[in-house]
């Protein structure tokens, strides 16, 4: 191979440019990921070494930051992880159930004022959260729901994230209508058609919804900061924030360690669900 390309100047040149391109892409990727890698490596260094070594390879490895960070707050960190997990899982369930029901109706059924409702649904996608947050807060505080998980999960069970309705509508429209008709001939009603025919075929869209909901809820800070003020209800982001608040400019090692634990599940979902994430981005962006 090498002799062929060294003899053929065009091929040789193409090879060199391709190699240069890969080098550039890898180099740039490293720069992009350097902060993350540095955080991981710093979390394994003794506190006093963190800022003396900008390099990635720790000269001394310790897990002390992890044990220290885990127990730095009122509860062990697993407590906050559980709080976050509970809210996140319920949010995923809520979004999957409520959004798929609505999406089936919009994509397949006919009813009066459908266009109006559909336009309203699209309109709420772009609506800034801040225009509803004050009255929502007042409402939830009058219902005595501050410091409970309700303000965080109830909106999901009411299909508040209309972005996902839109995503599923787009997906259901690509399924052949003959399926519905065949089911109807077999005597299936709308509910059975939805549950037995449409929903199973929607798995890719449902997966995309589940992964995005997971990541967004896990990362969400604003509403969790707003509704959870009691340390007993803190989720991971709010706990990290209070950690930062209480320790000021010290204990960066333990804070990095807990930050990495906080990012762990997202990273896991990213690895497992990349395909769906990227497809979801691409289809909602384009279709």
């Amino acid at each position: 191979m090498a002799t062929v390309s060294s003899r053929n100047p065009v091929l040789y040149r193409r090879r060199v440019t391709r190699g240069a391109k890969h080098l550039m892409l890898i180099g740039f990727g490293l720069v992009m990921l350097y902060p993350l890698l540095w955080m991981i490596s710093s979390s394994l260094k003794p506190e006093e070494l963190i800022f003396r070594e900008p390099g990635l390879i720790p000269s001394e490895i310790t897990f002390e930051n992890y044990t220290q960070g885990w127990n730095a707050l009122a509860h062990p960190f697993s407590y906050y992880l559980w709080n976050s997990a509970l809210i996140t899982i319920l949010s995923v369930v809520g979004n999957l159930a409520a959004c798929s029901l609505a999406a089936y109706s919009f994509a397949r059924l006919n009813f009066p004022l459908k266009k109006l409702w559909f336009a309203l649904m699209l309109g709420t996608i772009m609506l800034p959260l801040h225009v509803v947050i004050v009255p929502q807060y007042i409402m939830f505080s009058q219902l005595d729901m501050i410091n409970t998980i309700w303000p965080l999960i109830l909106p999901k069970f009411l299909a508040h994230d209309s972005f996902f309705i839109f995503l599923m509508v787009q997906f259901i429209r690509t399924l052949p209508r003959e399926l519905d008709e065949a089911a109807a001939i077999d005597g299936a009603g709308y509910w059975r058609t939805f549950f037995r025919v449409i929903l199973p075929l929607c798995t890719p869209a449902l997966t995309t919804t589940a992964i995005f909901t997971f990541i967004w809820t896990w990362n969400d800070f604003f509403s969790q900061l707003l509704y959870l003020n009691n340390p007993d209800n803190f989720t991971v982001p709010v706990a990290l924030r209070s950690f930062l608040d209480s320790s000021g400019e010290s204990s960066w090692g333990p804070m990095f360690a807990m930050s990495i634990i906080a990012l762990g599940p997202i990273f896991g979902f990213f690895l497992a669900g990349q395909k769906y994430l990227i497809r979801g981005m691409a289809t909602t962006g384009l279709k």
Binding site: L33, R52, L101, S105, V134, N219, F222, F256, M281, L286
Partner: protein, 325 residues
């Protein structure tokens, strides 16, 4: 692909159920279509409840509250336009937050999209390891909005942070970038640019939709790479650039977490990172001036709507929708 970006409801599937005439009088909807409508509404029940209870209701309430003085403890007191007048004439922090947010959006969105487009172009065209690179570049946009990354950012640009540690290798002594009012906002802009992966993925999908026959034809006609980019890639990509632009402007105008964590909830140093939403949060949920916060929210809605409107109007002059439109 060409008009696939228009988020219009026209495409709503029409499935006309034939109206059956019954006896005399007007045509009645058939039993079947009535059953269908009934089922459709049942499927939409959660969404309907949500729409009225946590969207439309609060929108109306927030509009009303913006004309009142309300602190959650006492009854709302009607004050007319006072909140808005105060906002525009006597509240320097409102103007500061508006300016900070505007600078943030105007600088970071184009930069982010430029990076996204450049990398998408490099990654296109059957490059080996495409999905590997795409994942690496996409990862930061998933993590970027989290508290953990904001904490990391604060430390990277802190006095004894990573940047200064690297500079120290070259014998340069730096200061804290997050505590300096001149540079604090730039660190947040950098964080936004770092998350260019999401628009990049959308660009990549758009690039894939351009038929390769266009490029073949162009190269037969002797068009070079640059010429092809200018006459094929760029025009056909404008709808996607437009889509990303609209989306990112709306999104970045509402950024909150980064500014909150990096400034520890203050918007400091000297309000140099006081994002609009952070100011709104402070007014509404720290000072409990909920009427005032509602007024702030409505100003934000008007700004975002106006920007989006301007974007759509301007798009006529630069977005290429092909001949089919």
């Amino acid at each position: 692909m060409v008009d696939s970006l228009s988020l219009k409801p026209e495409a709503a599937a029409p499935a006309p159920a034939p109206a059956v005439k019954r006896g005399r009088g007007r045509p009645q909807p058939s039993l079947r279509s009535r059953r269908e409508a009934w089922a459709a509404h049942l499927f939409l029940v959660p969404w309907f409840i949500g729409l009225f209870l946590i969207t439309i209701g609060p929108i109306v309430a927030s509009f009303y509250l913006s004309f009142t003085d309300y602190s959650l403890l006492e009854e709302a007191k009607w004050v007319g336009l006072e909140n808005y007048i105060k906002l525009f004439t006597e509240d320097p922090r409102f103007w500061t937050s508006l300016k900070v947010t505007a600078v943030y959006v105007v600088v970071s969105v184009p930069l982010q999209l430029a990076f996204a487009l450049a990398l998408a172009l490099l990654l296109d065209r059957g490059l080996r390891g495409l999905s590997f690179y795409r994942s690496i570049y996409y990862l930061p946009s998933l993590l970027g909005g989290s508290v953990a990354i904001a904490i990391l950012w604060r430390k990277i640009f802190g006095a004894d942070g990573l940047v200064n540690a690297i500079l120290a290798v070259f014998g340069i002594q730096g200061t804290s970038y997050v505590n300096n009012p001149d540079t604090a906002l730039s660190t947040l802009i950098l964080l936004h640019v770092w998350t260019f992966g999401a628009p990049m993925v959308i660009f990549l999908a758009g690039l894939r939709q351009i038929p390769s026959s266009y490029y073949e034809a162009a190269s037969i006609d002797g068009a070079g790479t640059l010429q092809q980019f200018k006459s094929i890639t760029l025009p056909l990509l404008t709808p996607i650039i437009f889509f990303n632009l609209v989306l990112e402007i709306i999104k970045s105008f509402q950024s909150f977490t980064q500014s909150f964590i990096v400034s520890n909830g203050t918007g400091g140093p000297t309000d140099s990172t006081l994002f609009y939403t952070l100011y709104l949060y402070t007014k509404g949920f720290k000072d409990y001036e909920m009427g005032y916060a509602s007024a702030l929210a409505w100003v934000l809605v008007v700004i975002i709507a106006a920007l989006t409107g301007i974007n759509f109007l301007a798009s006529k002059y630069w977005v290429f929708y092909g001949d089919s439109k």
